[in-house]
């Protein structure tokens, strides 16, 4: 017999044996050996569930189903635990969002961590944690028509000298004309200076004066600092609520509904007229969202996909539950990605 034939036979045998070896060992698991494994896994799952380690308990039940897909107890427990994990995670996430809106960062962090412990795939919870539990690196800002880089610099840094920095952060030329609507990232220039407790009285007095003078943006700067030092400082909360409500009304009248919503969301507890304003805002936001949605559709039909996406993003800003806008963005982004791939090829 020719040597190549022997070599070929040998190689083929070894390869087949490699597979067969696994099959043989696999077969062992189907025999009497699998019962102790299933028992151990079930015991482990029960222990984990008792300790509220739902994901680990689920891992055990899922593993039992790999040994025996018809295992009734495992099927029932998997279904029950998955539903329980999802439900608890969702409730915890809502609690976290509410705590964030009410400026209770510790409660928010705890609730978001619980969410992720129960459902590690809850991406929104992770995003919220990373966004709100870290010192900001950038602030996102939606430019208003007619604003220039120098205007933004003055707005955020109180000097026009930061225009270059904003341009650099957004990959824009220094003298770029800003087109609306567009979001820009504004680098946070320096860590806020440590707050000195003895300044509390002085800052409160200033905040009171500014509030009486109707300079509510400045009031918010002061109250934010005051509440960072003492989150329960009652007068600071009252002053902030008043300023937020007044600014919310102003933005509402100016049809800047997203800003108005952001202002009102930060109000802690009850405030006279707040619910009525929220209702009006919701109605107007939805109307405005429909206008943007239709504009987006028009752009889409004219093959201006990026402008379409920009409009639909505005829709989501006004009405986060607008499912058509979310679906349209996904569709347009898929198309944009395909176009990009084709162009690269």
């Amino acid at each position: 017999m020719s040597r190549p034939l022997i070599a070929l036979y040998l190689v083929a045998s070894l390869v087949l044996l490699g597979f067969a070896g696994d099959r043989c060992r696999y077969a062992l698991a189907q025999g009497p050996d699998r019962q102790p494994v299933i028992t151990t896994l079930a015991e482990k799952a029960a222990t984990y569930e008792a300790a509220d380690e739902i994901q680990l308990a689920l891992l055990c039940w899922r593993s039992i189903l790999e040994f025996d897909p018809e295992h009734q107890e495992a099927l029932a427990n998997r279904q029950r635990l998955e539903a329980q994990a999802q439900e608890r995670a969702r409730a915890s996430y809502q609690a976290g969002r509410a705590a964030l809106a009410q400026s209770r960062p510790k409660d928010a962090r705890r609730a978001l961590l619980v969410t992720l412990r129960l459902d590690p795939r809850f991406l929104d919870a992770r995003r919220q944690l990373e966004q709100f539990m870290n010192p900001p690196v950038y602030k996102w800002y939606r430019i208003e028509p007619g604003e220039s880089l120098a205007d933004l610099s003055r707005k955020f840094y109180r000097t026009a000298d930061g225009a270059d920095l904003i341009a650099f952060a957004n990959d824009l030329p220094a003298n770029a004309q800003l087109l609306t609507p567009r979001m820009l990232k504004i680098p946070v220039r320096a860590a806020p200076p440590p707050y000195k407790a003895q300044k509390t009285d002085h800052d409160l007095a200033r905040a009171r004066k500014l509030s009486q003078a109707g300079r509510h943006e400045k009031v918010l700067v002061l109250t934010e600092r005051l509440r960072r030092a003492d989150p329960k400082l009652r007068e600071a909360v009252q002053l902030e609520n008043r300023s937020r409500f007044t600014l919310g009304q102003r933005f509402f009248r100016q049809r800047q509904y997203i800003k108005a919503k952001q202002m009102l969301d930060g109000i802690q507890g009850k405030y006279p007229g707040l619910e009525a304003l929220r209702t009006d805002l919701r109605v107007q936001s939805q109307k405005q969202a429909e206008v943007h949605y239709r504009d987006g559709v028009k752009f889409f039909l004219n093959d201006e996909l990026e402008r379409a996406v920009e409009n639909w993003r505005l829709v989501l800003g006004l009405d986060p539950d607008h499912e058509e806008a979310a679906a349209s963005i996904r569709e347009a982004e898929t198309l944009l990605q395909k176009l990009k791939t084709v162009e690269e090829e």
Partner: protein
């Protein structure tokens, strides 16, 4: 194949043919027997490995290191088996479960969550020469403390995977980093790390490699081959150019980015390993440093703010805890916050 093989035998004399057949088949039989024996001697995987969780029975002479090596790819991953099965050692015939994926994302438990201290040692070459041997001795004791108290020293990439929610870290995980690239480090500190087999990270400025009293590229490469990661430290000149008192020009920022990107590539080319992380100091201008690092192609940044890190820390603002070379174990242990207790139910 076998039919073709038999078909090739001449049929003239059946006895001769039988003899020839035996002569040809015998080696194959021996080879097949050998292959079967090889398969039989393969690790006794007694039960089927499910995709997420492996169930194994401990062999007569097997210990946790053997199991970790066989099923998890490395002996130093024995902690996974210990942690998941709540055991210290394995007994023959014991049924053990081995998770094959990230089973505790973020180190979240019902009683709190994992924190990862990143210890930052300063440049040893700044120490007075008469103190050097005493300091090396103290450092050795610090490393022994980590070993005897059950801390797990992990590498910077493992930590990055943990923070990205992609990997579980061992309990009591610690990261060691050094702002040092001196020859003294190579001569005194590296041997201690090598003895303990601790992965560590050196943050270096490539421009200074091989200059007076600094380690050479061949020394750095030797360290890299034994598990030391070489990453980048923002040069003082670049940091100083970011004067907090004035805003940088766009051209200055572009220049700074090109320096960082060039240095990063230099480390990757000479070291042959990816350079993804940048260390920087100071809180002031942190956002700007992060912006520069992002634009230069880094994926993470380490500051010197002090404290330990939860998984949700901003990837460019990972906090390093400054440690002195000569701290006694009692003071040293204060740097090792590895768990944040908080009810997460």
């Amino acid at each position: 194949m076998l039919t073709a093989f038999l078909g090739a035998i001449p049929r003239a004399d059946s006895r001769v043919a039988a003899g020839r057949l035996a002569a040809r088949v015998c080696p194959l039989l021996w080879l097949s027997l050998l292959a079967f024996l090889t398969a039989a001697c393969a690790p006794p995987l007694q039960v089927r490995p499910p995709s997420e969780l492996l169930a194994i029975s401990v062999g007569p002479d097997e210990n946790l290191d053997d199991l970790a090596r066989r099923y998890l790819g490395a002996a130093d991953r024995r902690w996974i088996i210990q942690d998941f099965n709540a055991i210290e050692s394995a007994a023959p015939d014991q049924l053990l479960l081995i998770p094959r994926r990230n089973y505790r994302p973020g180190g979240l438990t019902p009683d709190g969550y994992q924190m990862v201290p990143v210890l930052a040692y300063p440049d040893i070459s700044t120490v007075k020469s008469e103190q050097v041997s005493r300091i090396a001795d103290r450092f050795r004791r610090q490393m022994q403390y980590l070993n005897t108290e059950g801390y797990h020293v992990v590498g910077i990439h493992q930590m990055a995977a943990f923070m990205a929610f992609e990997a579980t870290l061992p309990p009591k995980a610690v990261v060691l980093t050094f702002d040092d690239q001196s020859r003294l480090f190579f001569d005194l500190i590296y041997p201690i790390l090598r003895t303990q087999q601790f992965p560590a990270t050196l943050f270096i400025e490539p421009g200074a490699v091989g200059t007076e009293s600094m380690a050479t590229w061949s020394q750095l490469t030797e360290m890299m081959e034994s598990g030391i990661s070489i990453q980048y430290r923002m040069p003082r000149a670049v940091a100083q150019s970011l004067n907090p008192a004035r805003f940088p020009k766009q051209s200055d920022l572009a220049q700074a980015v090109s320096v960082l990107a060039r240095d990063r590539l230099d480390i990757e080319t000479r070291g042959g390993q990816p350079c993804r992380y940048m260390a920087y100091s100071g809180d002031q201008m942190a956002a700007l440093k992060i912006l520069l690092a992002e634009k230069a192609g880094f994926t993470g940044g380490f500051n010197l703010a002090g404290g330990s890190n939860p998984f949700y820390r901003h990837p460019f603002a990972i906090q390093r805890e400054p440690v002195s070379w000569d701290e006694a174990p009692k003071a040293f242990q204060n740097h090792l916050l590895v768990f944040k207790a908080e009810v997460l139910r």
